[in-house]
Symmetry: D2
Subunit: 351 residues, 4 copies
């Protein structure tokens, strides 16, 4: 089959023929890719930022990236009873074991034996992928793989943070959202669908703020240096009850805390920066900082339910698998509108 | 001042002159009534169903009913610093002490020293009422007493139940609402504003179902004997994750449980019937039955925030204080559309 | 192998040779029984009270009861990686699928595809049992199958209810425990280990109350008709914050509610009686009734952690597999002290 | 009356005669001091570290410090019905208003109108103090002011953090406690009384570790540079599920995070240091950092319930009010054993 493979860090992916994946374990599942989301992490991988992690995981180049995958079940192992060839599915990024303490608690991300295709084993920038029985979630009839693929990682991460924040977001409260990009624009829709809070969206890009307004933001604020004052002003001088930081680098992790009212909670979703705060301020304002990592399998199902009901949608730009390097270049250069998805040649016809 | 007083059970209220209430305690507040909601409990009171409770509370007739009150602050005691004459306010039905364990936990309904004007002391079917500093909630500038009065008891009760149910109402879940009347129609709007759940509304009255649809119900079901089958059919045979029973009498408390899926929760808001269930069924399906009593002061504020944002509205029919017996007769005879509110003669002008 | 089989309802079990269970699915696990707890449900089964459930489940007699099992892994299917022959294990009573919504939420009892060996397939009154990979929990080195078997169902049920009640049991609160028998005596130990609440234990049997005191009860009350008054007196006239009813039949489900203070929660664990309560009382006191069904796999692990730490212990009476009918007769006649466990001939030697 | 007053920063307190406080508001309460806890914050105040806060609060020297107070009610304002002269009470450090959003939520620390006697108004290093009706909690008959005074601020702070951590501390989990001093030794006792978690206590002082063991620590670890490795070793290489950092300065806020397992929670109670963490690590391990500020009034009651039940005790050293500068010197020099309490001359006799 055809796959886009990373042979060397800092080099373009190579489109080449590789052997098809095969069932070797009773819980294996082979999925024909319908669409694979292109994520900023794929750029980081190409740029060598995961070299150490790859070594730690025992991964040797070349390999196939792509960790936001959806498609159709092609074959299942002998232990798989709930999936059938032909089922349209989206793939949770973790292939979890189902028997460790984390899995038993419903916390797939805490699986002690998980693999992560696209990061540490072959992923979905290919015609087929091998995953596990516990990773595949069947799609509602009104959704196709191309509609949903980026939800597999980026979308679920935004949903997970919103869900954890929602008990704090009673009527009359305010949530400040930093970043209305790939994750943020999903998060805003989830907030609007799941909470009665007023939503203030802060972004440096006016176009992103326009999108935010169309998706349910109550107020938007340009991150031009006056954003803290603007948010204070919109919240009676108090600040927001909750901040969700979808960026957490390039300074947001510093001024973001100033958006928060006393006894508020700061949800960290993005990464890259360093959180630096006096413990005296943390105590005196009884602030919580809450890290967020992807989300659980059922949370992926909950997000897909919102999509099936039309409450959350994605804007995407399609690229063929052969064009993946153009897609990555467009993403890197800020020319990619919406979320990029990679669609193998035959996939569109069969959808 | 003028007041509508109950002199004898089973008799019409008497409109008469009574002395104005006076400040006698540092935390007293006198409020000029802008509107007082008419509640089915007022009929029960007239019909003598609270005779024993009145005796237990040391209340001797005549007295003034009316427990859903809103208006303008007229005078405050020497210990009251947060209210000023002229403030537009809605009155939480409990005048709570602020120092007992329940009050300290934020649970006003658990106040061990509360009074309940309109039930056990003079209420709001009058030109003025005496209440306490902790009962008065200032209105947002875009709301008037006549907009909000019935929220003081009926509305907050619906909101309280919805708020407690909402952690169970994730995307993809279903809530069945029994009764789309005074409380139910507020509850439906709260559910739509606060949760992503599908809302199935069941009522015996087709007009109530039409209203429910306009307020956000996903599906409506006529309670004509086939309602259990209909709800099962709408939920893939499973039943609803949550049932909120705003009636809980005349049989709903029996068939209502059949609407519930395994591991579901049944919120009881109305009353009158008898819950009767085999413990074996309760165990095998791990069902919870959850009673609900009015709500806390901050919950009243949360509900009013939804109103100020336009997410919850009330339909009301206005009657003058002199016409209160007509209003009660209309309510009893099913001729009152929306929630009845009683407005003293001068109040409308000053609103 | 040898097994104790039910050939006809109302007849003694027959000890006979049957074929050994075999691995037929990649997730199957064969366990050599070290001990199987004898539960009152086994008497109910013998007495024909599960005849309808057996028919519904497609179970035809003869079959082997026994649903509280522990032992050593004998063989595992090709998909099982976390268990090895020789591992000492306790078996969660549900063989869950691991891929349905309930399993993915960590709620094994909500598995839509579970089997229940001992109730609806062959159980543990035998030398070996077939179970599934997700049912087997490895024991800490200081615990043996004979120490723990009854925890597999009775113990975990008590723990599950206590865990759910514990957020309500802050310092200064009181929990009333109805029944200090098989489940109750585990529940009392869990309450003492996990909460700072005062524990009032009510039982009709003075010996059970003595045991309760030795296990951590703060007060004991004989259920002689004066128990409601006694509990009120011990709680300043208010009643208990939480009631856990391990009986829920023979009247406890009626007077048990009178033990509860306003805004209290009633946990139903036992079954047999009918809960009957006016909705007006449920509302006015904002009472919750909470059903409890066994518990999750991780909860079994949590309970076993308490055992490994010496915070919870079991008193048991051992019977050989050949003596199972004597054991059942002793249980039925009230002659069995502690929890009965059935131990096959070879098991003791190998423990 | 006699009071110990701060006339200048960096100078000893001056013992002098000052006018007695008087009732000026209906909710005022005058309390005769039975004991006042000496807190490290009192040293910070003397050393000028609160000069800015004092200015911001409009406090001009001289004034009377002392914010951990207990004694007997001397007089009450006209609005106070639940307290009587002679009542033995402990004083929550915040004099809260009872009508703002925070107070109504039961969150006294979020009161928008609170005063803080001892920090920003005259405190308890005196014979009498003026406080408010909502600050005074009646003592159980078996407790005296001298038994409990330091619980008013230090104790409640430890309890508050433990209570918030306790839902995470199921059987089989581990909590690492940094610091077994004034707050820590209360926290350890609360953990032992309220949770089944294994408690690892880390401190640089071997005597503190001995005390920790006697109070319920499962393991103790000397903070000698090898503490991270030691805790990892005690937790199977994973780290603790929860860390409670009662120090949060002098480096604990740096190595403390290394004690935490993935998906763990870090409770910050002490202050002084700077939290500095890569957002990538916060995300990848889904860590929460949770600030803690004193606690609510009902939490003070819960802690006092543990004391009345003998589950939590305090070790104290008594000093007369005239000896307060010696006490402060002893505290500063590390010569004060247990928690110092200041007892005015007449108080002991009347206790």
């Amino acid at each position: 089959m055809k796959a886009a493979r990373l042979h060397d860090y800092h080099q373009d992916l190579v489109i080449e023929e590789v052997p098809e994946p095969e069932i070797t374990d009773p819980f294996d599942v082979i999925v024909r890719i319908g669409a694979a989301g292109l994520c900023r992490t794929d750029l980081h991988i190409k740029q060598g930022e995961f070299e150490q992690e790859h070594k730690d995981a025992g991964l040797a180049l070349p390999y196939t990236p792509g960790h936001e995958n959806a498609g159709w079940v092609e074959a299942v192992g002998s232990g798989v009873k709930h999936l059938q060839p032909g089922d349209a599915v989206i793939l949770h990024p973790f292939v979890s074991c189902g028997v460790c303490h984390g899995c038993r608690a419903g916390m797939d991300m805490r699986c002690e034996n998980a693999t992560f295709p696209g990061l540490y084993t072959d992923g979905g920038f290919a015609e087929k992928i091998k995953t596990g029985a516990r990773a595949a979630l069947k799609l509602a009839p009104n959704l196709t793989p191309a509609d949903v693929a980026p939800m597999a990682c980026g979308g679920i991460t935004a949903y997970h943070a919103v869900k954890r924040a929602s008990p704090l977001l009673l009527p009359g409260t305010t949530v400040a959202v930093i970043g209305a990009g790939g994750l943020g624009h999903v998060g805003i829709q989830c907030l609007a669908a799941m909470t009665p809070a007023e939503i203030i969206v802060i972004d440096a890009n006016p176009a992103a703020l326009e999108l935010a307004t169309s998706l349910g933001a109550t107020h938007t604020v340009l991150a031009d240096g006056g954003q803290v004052e603007a948010v204070k002003s919109l919240t009676g001088g108090h600040g927001a009850d909750v901040v969700i930081d979808f960026v957490a680098e390039r300074g947001t992790e510093r001024w973001g805390v100033d958006l928060l009212r006393s006894f508020g909670s700061y949800f960290i979703v993005g990464y890259g920066g360093v959180l630096e705060e006096e413990t005296k301020r943390i105590i005196n304002n009884e602030i919580s900082f809450i890290g967020n990592l992807i989300g659980n399998f059922n949370e992926l199902g909950e997000l897909l339910a919102l999509m099936a009901q039309g409450k959350v949608t994605l804007h995407t730009s399609l690229y063929g698998l052969d064009d993946i390097n153009s897609a990555m270049s467009d993403l890197d250069g800020g020319r990619l509108r919406g979320r990029g998805i990679i669609v193998p040649a035959g996939a569109r016809a069969s959808a």
